[in-house]
């Protein structure tokens, strides 16, 4: 049985937390993999904060072509080996092209899909209480800085 099927039969849809993704780009020549990222990711998994659904490694060549790699294609997975066995392979071939659109030619990127386990109990409680999610999102740090700076500028002008 595939990991995806196992997950969906063990847990009802109502208990599924929000699923997010990120793409971390490593420009050519600047990657410095010490195992620190894997350690922090596994800490989040072990703490029950997130469940990793999928991981892909993408390389965008100078001509714009994309070379995807599965986590299992990496020779020495180390502690990530246990994680790799749990991946649900959610991303499809189409997604690779879409995700790589943000990459610079010559760079390598890690794509991570995860479920926010921490949010699931609250979301379920909200639904049981009659609530429904009508908006969510992320506020960029830059937007917060811009807002604060605008306030400061207005205060200076008003002084």
């Amino acid at each position: 049985m595939a990991a995806t099927e196992t997950v969906m039969t063990d847990r009802s849809l109502d208990e599924l937390g929000p699923v997010d993704y990120l793409v971390v780009e490593f420009p050519a020549g600047v990657a410095n993999f010490t195992g620190e990222m894997a350690k922090e990711l596994l800490a989040l998994v072990d703490a029950g904060t997130i469940r990793v659904i999928d991981i892909l490694i993408l390389t965008k060549n100078a001509d714009g072509s994309i070379e995807p790699m599965e986590l299992s294609d990496i020779g020495e997975l180390g502690e990530l080996e246990a994680l790799e066995a749990q991946l649900a392979e959610l991303l499809a071939e189409d997604d690779v092209v879409h995700l790589a659109a943000a990459m610079e030619p010559g760079s390598t990127a890690g794509v991570l899909i995860w479920e926010n386990l921490w949010a699931a109990p609250f979301a379920s409680a909200a639904r049981r209480s009659g609530g429904r999610l009508i908006a969510n999102g992320r506020i960029p740090i830059q937007a917060i800085i811009a807002s604060i700076e605008a306030d400061e500028a207005a205060a200076t002008e008003g002084a």
Partner: protein, 55 residues
Amino acid sequence: MPLRAARVGRVGVIGHPVAKTAVVAKAVTPGAAPVARTAVVAAAVTPGRGLRRRI
């Protein structure tokens, strides 16, 4: 290396080419964000330590 067969021929979940969030990535990169700004933002999002009133 080729993708696993399970990823081929399926409908994707992303749906559109993603836009690069270069500015955000730069700001959250350790060492790239100015320390003073980081402190101001941290204060702004800390309960009870907000630097301004909403209205």
